[in-house]
Amino acid sequence: MKIRANLLIGGILFATVVVAGLLAPLLAHTDPVMDANLMYAEEPPGAEFWFGTDAQGRDIYSRVLHGARISLTVGIVSQLINTIIGVCLGLSAGYWGGWWDDFVSGLTNLMLAIPSLIFALAIMAILNPGLTSLLIALGLTNWSFTCRLARASTLSLKSQGYVQAAKVLGYSDIRIMLTQLLPNMLGPIIVIGTLGMGGAVLAEASLSFLGLGIRPPYPSWGSMLSDARDQITTAPWISIFPGLAIFVTVLGLNLLGDGLRDILDPQSRTRRI
């Protein structure tokens, strides 16, 4: 099979970020939180500090590497929560129908009416800022698209011969959903999940930028950018590298999602948006 350019580039970009995050303790030059030294404040990029230093004299390169761990954790875990919620609700609503389907469809429409960042912001308001709160806020607010997709796929799949055969063989509803329906809708769900991961990385950065996500001194890319705002005139490099890291991660995930869609759902190639 010919590998498409978007899949290849996206895969390389995302793999680079994953490796950087995993090996951050080995690759980083200094401790991202503790090693502040005002003697080296706002040093421009150079041989000693590859990406320069921030206002507290911390090495930006080391902080960007460690920031990858936070962004990837939030992106992967929150999207996993969204996918599990969306698939469970959509699959069961499509399969059982009736009042449960009406309830889930109503809830999905409701979720679509509230902008997800605003909803996440409201949830962050009642929780204390931190990684766990972020995972909850972003994991509960972005499942509606997965739910709709799972419901629509279930509706079209449940009349297929193999599902009817499983029913005749006496399979339980849960077993039919997990072994007959779920594997056949996995392709589009993986695509939505990959694209959603990029959205979650952006949302985490936005909330941390607003001071409602990961709090300083921990090196989240969003909070690093929030800190960098005050030094934009004297030390613009403090803003450049964390933003570039977010851009590369999200671009990688978006390209990967597009590439996977071309392979897993070839019919959508022309109607892709």
């Binding site: 978007n6 409701l110 902008p115 936005s206 960098a228 933003g243 851009f247 978006n254």
Partner: protein, 311 residues
């Protein structure tokens, strides 16, 4: 037509009530109240008696269902309560902030439509060409850019280095102040619109009626004008409607970055200070704007495409 519009607008009422309920429940489980959070901030100490009086005044001692009942009764009378912080009516606080947000949202959507739709159209008319490749690479990059980073970089270049535009603030609300925030906010919807338009036009180009029109000898200009544009417009309009909601939501970050005095910055400040009536009001207003805009887009789609019935 008027009945259709009225019916669609009435359909937003249960959604708004449900959103009000969700937001109300969410803020009812907050450990502590505004009064206690004021004393928790490490700067102020509130006397127990004062806190008790505030709790009584704001009704925090009532059971949750009583508070929700009172809240809905107020809501029906378009009364969103009183701000804990400024003691002003929430409707007044929101009214002051609504216009800057609408201005920013419409300006960024205008930018995204004016740039994104023609870009997608041109790309679709020459699939596989360099124009197509460049615009689609640009589109996927635009979707991946963090808005506040783009805003920060533009602020640095155009305001601080070149000095062409003001770096932040609302000023007198003139175009100069609007340019940077609206472009920063509009890049992502622009990218999505370019991709949607391209996809819609490509799909319609393969439709039977377009092939028939060409086979009849219709000129390419007329095919594009009569068949492609009108049919693609419905899909593009629907995307524009949905993007409005996202843009109003995302405006929070851009408003905070550019110190824009809109609903978003009010929401973030009120969240930090736990000014719950303002947070509830701002979220309701954002959801209402989203629903109304989508209803209007639906009506517009029905006007453009006679196949869509007023049902």
């Amino acid at each position: 037509m008027a009945a259709f519009l009225l019916r669609r607008l009435l359909q937003t009422v249960p959604i708004l009530l449900a959103v009000a309920l969700i937001i109300f429940i969410l803020f009812s489980v907050i450990p502590g109240t505004f009064a206690s959070s004021m004393s928790d901030d490490g700067r102020s100490v509130i006397d127990v008696q004062v806190m008790e009086r505030m709790n009584k005044e704001f009704g925090f001692n009532d059971p949750v269902y009583v508070r929700f009942g009172k809240y809905v009764a107020q809501l029906v009378q378009l009364d969103l309560g009183t701000s804990f912080r400024t003691r002003q009516p929430v409707t007044k606080v929101l009214a002051e902030r609504m216009w800057p947000t609408l201005l920013l949202t419409f300006a960024s959507m205008l930018f995204s439509i004016v740039v994104g739709v023609p870009l997608g159209f041109i790309a679709a008319l020459r699939p596989g060409s360099w124009v197509d490749t460049v615009s689609m690479v640009g589109a996927v990059s635009g979707l991946s850019l963090p808005k506040f980073w783009l805003g920060l970089l533009m602020m640095y270049l155009f305001a601080l280095v070149l000095g062409w535009l003001p770096s932040f603030g609302y000023g007198d609300g003139s175009l100069r102040y609007l340019v940077l925030p609206s472009i920063a906010l509009g890049v992502a919807p622009m990218a999505l619109l370019a991709r949607t338009t391209r996809a819609a036009v490509l799909e319609i180009m393969n439709a039977d009626f377009v092939r028939t029109a060409r086979a009849k000898g219709m000129s390419e200009r007329k095919v594009v004008q009569w068949h492609l544009t009108r049919n693609a417009l419905v899909i593009v309009l629907t995307t524009i409607g949905l993007q409005f909601g996202t843009v109003i939501g995302q405006a929070v970050v851009i408003e905070k970055l550019f110190s824009w005095p809109g609903l978003g910055s009010l929401l973030v400040d009120s969240v930090t200070l736990r000014d719950i009536p303002v947070v509830q009001g701002a979220i309701l207003l954002i959801v209402l704007s989203f629903l109304v805009i989508n209803t209007l887009v639906d009506v517009l789609c029905a006007l453009i495409d006679p196949r869509i019935k007023y049902t």
